[in-house]
Every structure is written in C-alpha cells, then in structure tokens.
Point group: C3
Chain length 318, copies 3
C-alpha cells in the first residue's frame, strides 16, 4: 500500500510504506527522530518491551546484507515482535520464476510488515503497489536506501545536538554511493553546507547536484580533504568499491588516496563527528577508533533506534 505520507502528527505513518527519502518533510523527520530517541531511552533502561508483541516482520532480502538484516531483526525483537528471515531468495520459489508481486502478496498473508532489499531500482515501489501491508525499502539496487539516510541524519543530530548550521563533508566514492546521494537530499531540508571531496572519476552525479542547486543548498566540490577539513562538522567517509572499476590499476591508485588517519583527525575540529556506513576496508584506520569523534559504531546503534521507530510507526504503535 503506497500512500503519500500525510501531515497529521498522530499516526501519520500508520499503514504507510517507507520507500524514499523524498517522502519526508522536515517536520516528519523531527517526528521520526523523536520516536527514535524514545526507543533509545527504553532500550537503555529496559532492553526490550512488548510494543509490537504479536506482530510479524518478513525480512525479504534478495541481496545479502548482514548489517541491515540484523538491524531490522533486532529492532523487531526489541519491540517484542517476531521475524521471518528470507535471505536465500536465489534458492527459493523465486528461482522458479515467481514475480516479486506474487512473493509479496504471499508473504503478507503471514506477516504484518515487509522489509525488502532488492538488486533492482524500483523494486520497493513495485512491491508496495502490490501489497496491502506496509513495505519498508531496505535498498533497491542503485535506487534508494532511505532508512540508512534517516539513521545517518539521526546520528548527526545525536552527535552534534542539531542539524542546522553544520558543514557536512562527504569523502570518497560519491558517484556510486547510494548512501551519500540520499543523505545529501535529506540535508537539503536543513541549514547545512555540503562539501564533496572525491577523485574526479568518482564525483557526485549531476542529477544530485542539480537537485541541490534547485533547492538552494550551498555545496562545493573539492579534490583534497585539506581544503575543507578545518571547517567540517561532519566527515562522512564512504567505501571505494572495487567492483565499480573495470580498470583495477585505477582502483589501486585511488583506494588509499582518502584514508582517515590519526594525523588527519589532528587537523579536524575538536567537536565533530567522523561517520561511515560500514563495512570499511581501509578508509578509516583502526587506530582512529578510540578517538571520541569516531562515531561509526554509535551510528550502527542509531540504526537500531531509527528502525525500531519506523516499524512502530508503520504498525500504528508510535
């Protein structure tokens, strides 16, 4: 069931799909983050609670993703609900040629909400069009991964206390990084300056920068982190994915060009947040982990609270 998100505060997400960051107004985000904060308080004080007792989540992953899958599973379990994990789709009835709509219509006979990870852009919208129950997009190929963008923004708010007046620098592969595209779009709802630091081959796509320009967002492109590091409040590092390169020599030459070390951190603001969607494969040295500004594991924890909030909201319990 795909309905535009309404604007009445109470129950505004009840029965809705979560497909794209473009569904969310600034007011919606404040609401999500308020619920996520309440989730954090409850988890820290009592561990779990029975808000979604008796509800079942179908975790439908056509592509593997330990982190996202585990995070949604834990979110549902910490709310007292149950999970049906379906992660071996390549061996399942789907490999017998079943369509995504049929699979989704079958699963909603058993479950109350479906989290979908799929390799094709638009898959989540297609599932939502077929389903009567809420669909949460957990990544649709080169498309979107809205819960990742929401947790990134929630993390910034938790780390720095605000989302306005910040300079957010994104570093690494900005061309293929679905994460930084969605985060950039969400940032446009706030008073944020964006700094894009990447090799020329991996620049932020024009599609995204045009949107930012249309919305009046201040942004600039840079080849070196040093140009913007001293002004950066949030340094968001991404993985340069080997599988994106046809020319492996090019990959090797770029791989370590944007590595965050203690020496880099020494030149950064004393109060800032170093973030990464993980997994990392060398972009941030482990010796940085003990720096209080290293926020990437706290970012994982924020993912749990945001996903708990979204599940409770679409099931009408927040």
């Amino acid at each position: 069931m795909h309905l535009p998100l309404g604007d009445q505060r109470s129950g505004r997400f009840y029965g809705k799909d979560i497909l794209s960051v473009s569904q969310f107004s600034r007011d919606d985000l404040e609401y999500v983050f308020g619920v996520a904060e309440a989730m954090r308080t409850m988890v820290r004080h009592v561990g779990t609670f029975d808000l979604l007792k008796g509800k079942i989540l179908a975790n439908l992953f056509y592509e593997p993703s330990t982190r996202t899958q585990s995070s949604f599973m834990a979110a549902m379990q910490r709310l007292g609900g149950s999970v049906i994990p379906i992660s071996e789709v390549r061996y399942s009835s789907v490999s017998k040629g079943e369509s995504l709509p049929d699979t989704v219509r079958t699963l909603e006979c058993y479950a109350d909400v479906i989290v979908l990870r799929h390799h094709e852009e638009g898959a989540a919208a297609q599932a939502a069009a077929a389903a009567k129950k809420p669909i949460i997009n957990a990544g649709d190929g080169p498309g979107e991964h809205p819960t990742q963008a929401l947790l990134d923004l929630f993390t910034i708010r938790e780390e720095l206390g605000t989302l306005d007046g910040l300079t957010v620098t994104m570093l690494g592969d900005l061309k293929f990084g679905r994460t930084v595209h969605s985060l950039s779009r969400l940032c446009s709802l706030f008073d944020v300056k964006l700094r894009f630091v990447s090799p020329p081959q991996l620049e932020m796509p024009e599609k995204v920068t045009k949107e930012l320009t249309a919305r009046g967002v201040a942004f600039s492109k840079h080849a070196k982190l040093e140009d913007v590091l001293a002004q950066t409040d949030v340094l968001y590092v991404t993985r340069v994915q080997k599988e994106r390169f046809e020319d492996l020599a090019l990959y090797e030459s770029l791989k370590h060009a944007f590595v965050v070390t203690p020496a880099v951190m020494a030149k950064a603001k004393p109060k800032m947040a170093l973030m990464h969607p993980l997994p990392r494969v060398g972009e941030i040295e482990p010796s940085v982990d003990d720096d209080p500004r290293a926020a990437y594991f706290r970012q994982m924890e924020c993912g749990l609270y945001v996903r708990m909030a979204l599940l409770a909201m679409v099931l009408g319990k927040a």
Copy 2:
C-alpha cells in the same frame, strides 16, 4: 512417534505425526477445519496469542521452500512459540554423512515438534519411526505433502461453504503434481465429482485413478477445459514444471495450452473458486487477480490457519 490417528475426539492428534492424507477420516478433517477456523478468528481479532508459548518448532528443510517454510514459521510465531530454522542442510552436519534418524533424534533434544521437507519419498515416515516427538511431513519428494492438501480442502470449504455436491476440476500437469494427487484422495471422503484436464503426456497416474475407482469416486479425463468449465465449482490450476521435460520443445508447446485468462473466467460459474498452489509462472494471468473468484492468495492465508491448527493439535493444545 508414528501412531495411527485415534478416533476419540478430544486430543486425538496429541503426540501424533502428520505423514499422509490417508491418516485422515472425514470426521478428522471436520475437526481440523474447526480448529483452523478458530485460528482464523483469533488471528483476525488479536493477531497472535500464547497458546504454544514455550514450545519450539524445528523447521528442517533439506529442500528449499520459502512458502511452506515461512508459513510454518508464521504459524508457530502467531501461537507464541519459537522456531529453529534449519534450511541449509547441504552445508550442515548432514553433508558429513549423518543419517536422517540421527539428525532427527538430535533435534528433538532441543525442539518439541519437527516439520520436515525432504527430497526422498518415505523420509517423513523414516524420521517419525526414529523420533519420540511429532513429525509433520512438509513434502517428501514425489511422496506426499499432506498439509498442502489439507489447506486446499479447507480453502474450498471457506470459499464455497461446503465440501459436498461440488465439481472439482484439476488443470495442467496432473502426472507429476504431488498436490493434485493428495487432493484427489482427500476429495474421495466427500461427495465430489473430479474432472481431470491435461495434455495426454501429463495425465493423472493410473495409481491414483485406480484408488478413486475403488472408492467409488466419480471422475473423468478431458483434453480441453471448455468441456467441463461451465459445470466447475473449483478450478485447481497447477504449474507445468520445466524440469519435468527432457524434450524442451514439448514443454514450450504445452506451457501455455492451459492458461487461465479473463476470457476463460467469463465462461465460468459466477460462484466458483480459482485455486493454485503457487508459485505460478504464467498459468494464471495477473489480470485475473482482481476477479473475486480468484482464491489463490486467500488459499495462502488458509495455509497459515491449517498449519496453526495442526501444530496446536499435535502439541496437545487444541
């Protein structure tokens, strides 16, 4: 533990295995369907309830089957119980050469009931002979899939209000379709006329038709759906499985010979049920889905209630 099903009404399935449709008398079926209806009422009103709280189901799948696996998992979770999913048997200790009886005797140390899907006929009976705890057969190769037949019959009863006085037409691959064999046998307990429509290469096996003759069931074979459509109360469509054909040209020629379209439905009774065990790969056009007679997704939901009923019964809680 494999005991013949007793005939005392109260607790008649307690501790018993569910291995074959031949275990069930007409009276047994009425009892199962009564419990399944109670499950439906409870799910629709309260979602889940703690009838099997503290019980553990081992879902032991040697062959993948998303639908059956998810259905049993949801059934157990909606009754407040837990599930141990074991679906990667090819990577597990079994691939070290462990026998099925040893695997089952190990799992019953942890679980209270075992659902088994296996590629070999007779596997469920072999498991039941070794186990002290109830075994539910979720398909043993070319053998049986009794819970599928039970849910099919329950769906007919829910859709048409009765199981007597009906004409049930089975369409497609009747030779290899385990589902239609079991359903035909179960139908023989009621006042049902059977119509078998298939290409000559895929006719209902003599083994089944001999049984039907011996039980005095009225049945007939047809090459065209048109011959029987106007009298049909239940049209049960099956998938023509590519993997059954050595001659792929033959497969291609037959594949679409029995496709249900809106034009076909226009010639059917105004009150009838169109069923399919799913997944479908073209046998029923998606444009038929909105027809109120299209019962295949409601059939999936009926599967949940029947499996809830069976789990509760063998664990002595129904």
Copy 3:
C-alpha cells in the same frame, strides 16, 4: 570484554567471555553444572521460562554447524530470549573484506551476547578483545570448543553420578579431535584415569600429553580397545574425519578399525556411558542405540542445559 574469571561465587561469570576450558577451576565447573541441573529441572517441568526475556543473542557462524547453532538457539529461546542467526557469513559484508573486530562491534550494537564459530584459531579471543559484550567461543578452528567439553563432562556426571574415580577411554581420531583434547584437559581437574585408544597415525598429540603429565594425570596409550574396555567407565568415541587424510587408502583401512557394535558392548561394564560428540558416520552401529549405556543422544540434551546455564551466567541471571 575478556576478563579472567573471578572466584567469587555470586555472579562470577557475569559479563565474562567463555573462550577456553582453561578458564575453569573445579569449583567453577561445579557451579556451571549446578546451574545446568537447575535448567534441566525447569525445562522438564515447564518447558521454557522468561529468565532472559528481552535479551538478544547473535549467533555468528563463519562455519556451518547445525548442531551447535541449533543448540544455542534453543537454549536462548527456552530462556525467553531472541536470536539473530548469522550463518551465511561468506555472502555477507564480511566477504566485502570487513574485519572480525568490526563485525563484532557492529553486532554488539544490536545484541547482548555473541556466540562465535570461526575457522581460525584465536578468533574468539580476537573478538573478545574488540567487544564490550560477552563472547562465547563455539569453536575456533583447530583451537577450542569449550562448551562441547563442558557438556561432555556434565553428561558424564549425569550418567555416572560423579566425576571422580572414573576411567575415561577415548577412542578413534585423537590427533585432530579438538573435542578430546579439551575434554582431557578438563578431566585433569578430577580424579580420572585416561586411556587413549587410536591407530598410531592418530595418537593424542604430545602437546596434550605433556600437559597431562605436568598436572599428574594418569594416562596410557593403547592400540586396541580390548586392552582397556573391561575397566572403562566412559567410552568416548570420535569420528575419523576423511578430510584429514591425504592418503585415502589409509583412511579406508582405518575407518572401521574402531567400530562399536553390540558385541563390543557385551564386553563392557554393566554400568558405563558410551558417548560421541556426533555426527557419527559408522563408528557406533545403530543397533547399539537401544543399549541403556548409549548416552550420545542424552549428551545432546545435556548440551542444551549447559548452554542455557552459560548464557544465563554471562548475562548475570544465574
């Protein structure tokens, strides 16, 4: 978090890792076994109970192991807790090159305790060094599998009523069998005589026998079971693993040299325990299963109680 196990009785394992049998004193073992017995009583009377309600276990298996995985899952579920199963590590973010410490630090954002099976020796200690939450080693390659050794010892105690004054005979592959190495070490805490029966190619390694000598444990090596069978209180049989042999002809010649049959059991003590870590592939004939001394399936059940005890203890609830 890797802390040496303390010696105060109350809460002595709270927040601790379980990495090696060498962590356990005789007094510690008595405590574990006391809790395990309480678990058994509770499971037999009420099935499950909510001691760990609201707690989440991450079951992180880099190598498949149906038995260990299912056993920990059932243990957590019987205590009212939930499980995040992660068994397809080869397809997950780890295959994108993520380090074990990063994976563990991510999972502890979602879960309260992590059970780890890994193919590399020392992996559990590495995970424990990175993690804030308790790590339980469920086998680290050729390293240790401490919960197996604990359940073996608990089984002996349950079967024979004591751990002192016994003759424990280990049979089969004593060279590569991680299980018999750990069990031998644990036995050294009690007044036990050890008898090692193996082909010359598969003898107990000198590393282990030196430790036993240093601790003053009475042991001897034998080529034939007949030499020691009449004095044996516990006969612990191991699987001769085909994959350990480069010379398959040698494997075939040894495979059946140490098979336990009813004829062998006829020469054993009337009160003794025949044990095996399972899976077996011919080392014990199925015709022995009905012998009351055949303890291997009861051994599986003891595994459930010991793992329930360990989970409750490290989470501060025992």
